[in-house]
């Protein structure tokens, strides 16, 4: 009996330390933000709705994967005038392309708690390879993933016509993600 108890403890410890795979994102505590320059003015905003399917175990990076779907109409640029504009045809054209999607292909460790994921970001029907550097901070059954990457909006045709003028709205958009992810079922 005692032996079984210790074995269970050990199993529990082992799984908590080494075999925890984080899979369940907590949307209410997570955020997806962006920043850019408009006439030299730093601006920021966020996407209110997104879903993420992911698996991440730092001990087994080869199985790590993420797929993030963003409801582009849930954008908040800070003003209703701009929100309306960026949903329109020249920007995201959310009626034809309601979602943006990131699908990872690999993750590599950069040392410490830093990692880099490579994958494909699809916006407005255009798929472009991207990579993002993020930190991973596990705390028991929950982990915090914080990362950033820069995309060039014109690669995706985001802001066509008059908006291709990047001296007004910069081409570089800084994307930031802050994901709170719970551990899923312990692997056997």
């Amino acid at each position: 009996m005692k032996k079984l108890f210790y074995t269970l403890c050990l199993l529990g410890l082992t799984s908590a330390t080494y075999a925890t795979e984080f899979t369940q994102i907590v949307p209410a505590k997570s955020s997806l933000t962006f920043g850019y320059k408009q006439m030299g003015v730093p601006m920021d905003g966020k996407f209110g709705q997104f879903t993420a399917q992911m698996r991440f175990d730092p001990a087994q990076l080869t199985t790590a994967q993420a797929r993030i779907d963003v409801n582009l109409a849930s954008i908040d640029t800070g003003s209703s005038e701009a929100n309306e504009e960026v949903s329109g045809k020249l920007w995201f054209n959310t009626r034809a392309f309601p979602n943006g999607q990131f699908v990872s292909s690999s993750v590599k460790a950069l040392g410490g708690n830093r990692y880099q994921t490579f994958g494909t970001l699809t916006l407005k029907g255009k798929a472009v390879p991207v990579s993002a550097i993020f930190t991973f901070k596990p705390d028991g059954a929950t982990a915090i993933f914080d990362g950033t990457f820069v995309l060039k909006r014109l690669d995706y045709g985001i802001g066509e016509g008059i908006w291709t003028d990047i001296s007004t709205v910069a081409n570089e958009i800084q994307i930031g993600f802050h994901f709170i992810v719970n551990a899923g079922a312990v692997k056997k």
Binding site: Q38, M39, G40, V41, P42, G78, S79, E81, I162, V169
Partner: protein, 173 residues
Amino acid sequence: MIARYTYPAMALHWLMALLIFIAFPLGLYAHELPFSPLKLQLISYHKWLGVTILGLLLVRIIWRLTQTPPALLATNWQRHAAHAVHGLIYALLLAIPLSGWLMSSAKGIPVVYFGLWQLPDLVSKNKELGDLFKELHEGLNTGLLALVVLHIAAALKHHLIDKDNTLRRMLPF
């Protein structure tokens, strides 16, 4: 021999007048434009003009405090009226750029002078406050428009009807 304002006082007066005559219609026009790069550009230029006017005003106040302006050529009540209008115009030239700056801060679009130097936000982002400062900015500008019309009318009245040197005091010729 006409007792004139000093050349720096004249330069500040006419330069600010010019900038105000650009900034005012620019603000009105940009406000009416649909959301577009042109609108974002014009609003930025409007803000840069406002910051410039505010800076020039500070220089002008310092200059004014160290100088004695030439006497007004007018009756007693006109002198009082002129002082009151001048005082109010100075107050508005301070309050209007500040209300615009407050509005920018509250709307979450900081003022970056010439796209290079970011001014500190005076308040944090708040939509209701932003709308309030917008109303204030518009109201103060309506007041400025009325006072400037009065100011110009009085100057022209002195020049064309009284045929005195009131306007020449502010002109180098």
